[in-house]
């Protein structure tokens, strides 16, 4: 049986009296794109760093492709792009990738470096120094670096924070390509729309605990029915798609003219805000389903 790409069980981490993680359990399967959401300070980066072996857990276990986090076998199986990273500004893109190839023991050589630079649209600047690159270019170079050695698990902490919309589109396409190749990805991002677009499953973490998890569809839920009448839009907060014909019929029978109907579904953002205790504001004139 193939072990999960990432298995986290009862993970706790305390920095002195501050509890960053309070017993996290999650599992990422092979080829799965997993989104990790949560407010600042929720423990997302700590979780990723424990998986990378950069931070020691206080309790619990973390395994990467069946090997304990931090072990050479686990390190060989993963690629990582930190939220706050820097590469030596004196070396070129090609030299940086070469260093990571040597350390990871990748036999890909110049072909692998060239292919990865092309993939992140830096193929035209292999000899440019890191210090002469924009922040967005450095972030794309970071992605290429994380892909050295064809990792089975990619841990990406805010990988698109410095990218423009075109750059984000490139990264989304890249992630989808990785999924097709069976590479698992843990995507830690504040960009909910991005996570909703690409991730198979999502976990929302708050105060060091997973407070919601599931597919983006599972986390979303019906948000009511809005009907446009002569007096304006009326919201039936508890209404579902199935309730819409009945609501319209009852309004017409009551003598109302109906000009339009909208079935509302909450977005991942709504689910997120609800899960972290900041529920989205409701329409003040919302009515119960008729």
């Amino acid at each position: 049986m193939v072990p999960p790409a990432l298995s986290v069980t009862g993970l706790r981490k305390a920095y002195d009296s501050v509890h960053a993680l309070r017993g996290v359990d999650l599992e990422i399967g092979s080829g799965e794109l997993f989104g990790l959401l949560g407010p600042n300070g929720a423990g997302k980066s700590t979780l990723v760093k424990v998986a990378c072996g950069l931070v020691r857990p206080s309790a619990g276990t973390v395994e990467v492709c069946g090997s304990p986090a931090g072990s050479p076998a686990a390190q060989a199986a993963l690629g990582y792009l930190a939220e706050l990273f820097r590469f030596p500004d004196w070396c070129t893109a090609d030299e940086l990738l070469g260093l990571h190839q040597e350390i990871s023991g990748s036999a890909g050589g110049a072909a692998e470096r060239g292919e990865l630079l092309d993939l992140v649209e830096l193929g035209h600047v292999p000899d440019r120094r890191v210090g002469a690159m924009s922040k967005g270019m450095q972030q794309r170079l970071g992605l290429a670096q994380a892909l050295i050695g064809a990792p089975r698990l990619l841990l990406l902490d805010e990988p698109t924070s410095a990218l423009d919309p075109a750059g984000r589109h490139t990264v989304r396409a890249l992630l989808e390509g990785l999924r097709e190749r069976g590479v698992s990805v843990l995507l830690n991002s504040h960009l909910l729309s991005e996570v909703e677009l690409v991730c198979d499953r999502v976990a929302i973490i708050n105060g060091g605990e997973v407070v919601a998890a599931g597919t983006p569809q599972e986390l979303s839920h019906p948000g009511g029915v809005e009907v446009e009448t002569a007096s304006g839009w009326r919201t039936f907060a508890a209404g579902t798609r199935e309730d819409a014909p009945r609501i319209v019929r009852e309004l017409v029978e009551a003598g109302e003219d109906v000009f339009g109907v909208r079935v509302l579904t909450s977005t991942l953002e709504d689910a997120y805000l609800e899960a972290v205790g900041r529920a989205p504001a409701r329409e003040p004139d919302a009515e119960p389903a008729a």
């Binding site: 931070v55 020691r56 390190q75 350390i103 990748s106 064809a150």
Partner: protein, 297 residues
């Protein structure tokens, strides 16, 4: 994307050499060697000028020769001792600046993390950084000291009684300073670490001076304090041993005259010092590895 390339992580020694080579390349690219080279030429030029002047003065100085003192030997040994002091200081500056932010400083800047998520053990990273720094500092101090000896010989006709031992003492001394600085970089921020290592260096020099004072006034207790401190900071004991080797075969009144000078009275270390220095390196390395292993990044 094409099929993944084969991956076979290198062994620890090879990984350490990869890190060391990368550190050396950084020194090269940042023009560290150009700056060092130019300033070293300046240093040797000044040393050469002083040496020429000192031997000129010694040629006019005839009095003590009647008492068996060889002025050229006294001048040569004193100048070479001065050169060793300056070279140890320059080597220390190099060692400290190449390592003072190697762990905590680089971790705070996000430079270390991308490397350590590779199959690269923390101890290997430390070993690589130490090898990289030592590969710059140790040859540097040996080459400059050899240059100073050569100038002394060319301008005054004096050559040290031992050549290799003082050079190796300087090399091992700066290797120890690099190890201390690297170990300090795990717990201390760059500035604090630099200050701490230079204060240790100053403490070592002070211990050496205390030893000379102790000998002059015949104080056993002060001598014990100096000896313990010097061995606790063996770069100083190595420097003293190197100084001693410069005139190891010099005897009589010339020896006495050298001992009265600012670099006289240095203690020979013997084989025990070399063994202790190597053991010291291992202990500092072990403490650094243990501390780094416990550090969250």
């Amino acid at each position: 994307m094409s099929a993944p390339a084969a991956v076979s992580p290198p062994g620890e020694l090879r990984s350490a050499l990869i890190v060391a080579r990368f550190s050396l390349r950084e020194s090269l690219r940042r023009k560290v060697f150009v700056v060092i080279g130019l300033l070293t030429i300046l240093f040797l030029a000044l040393y050469g000028l002083a040496t020429w002047q000192a031997f000129e003065a010694a040629d006019d100085f005839t009095g003590p020769a009647e008492a068996g003192v060889e002025p050229d030997v006294v001048v040569g040994a004193t100048l070479a001792g001065l050169a060793m002091f300056a070279i140890l200081f320059l080597g220390t500056i190099l060692a400290v600046f190449l390592t003072l932010g190697a762990v905590r400083g680089d971790a705070e800047r996000g430079l270390v993390q991308p490397l350590l998520v590779r199959p690269l053990a923390r101890r290997t990273l430390l070993l690589g950084r130490w090898l990289g720094a030592t590969a710059v500092c140790a040859p540097y101090v040996m080459a400059v000291a050899l240059g100073a000896f050569a100038l002394t010989a060319a301008l005054g006709g004096w050559w040290p009684d031992r050549t290799l031992a003082p050079l190796l003492a300087l090399a091992l001394g700066v290797a120890i300073v690099a190890a201390l600085s690297l170990a300090g970089s795990i717990a201390l921020a760059s500035t604090a670490n630099g200050i701490a290592v230079f204060m240790l260096f100053g403490a070592g020099l002070t211990a050496g001076l205390l030893g000379q004072i102790a000998e002059a006034i015949g104080s056993d207790s002060l001598d014990d304090v100096a000896r313990v401190t010097t061995w606790a900071l063996p770069f100083e004991a190595l420097y003293q041993a190197g100084l001693s080797d410069l005139t190891a075969d010099t005897v009589g009144f010339t020896r006495l005259a050298i001992n009265l000078g600012p670099f006289g009275g240095a203690e020979a270390g013997g084989a025990g010092l070399w063994l202790w220095s190597l053991a010291y390196l291992v202990v500092v390395g072990a403490i650094a590895v243990a501390a780094f292993g416990r550090r969250d990044l």
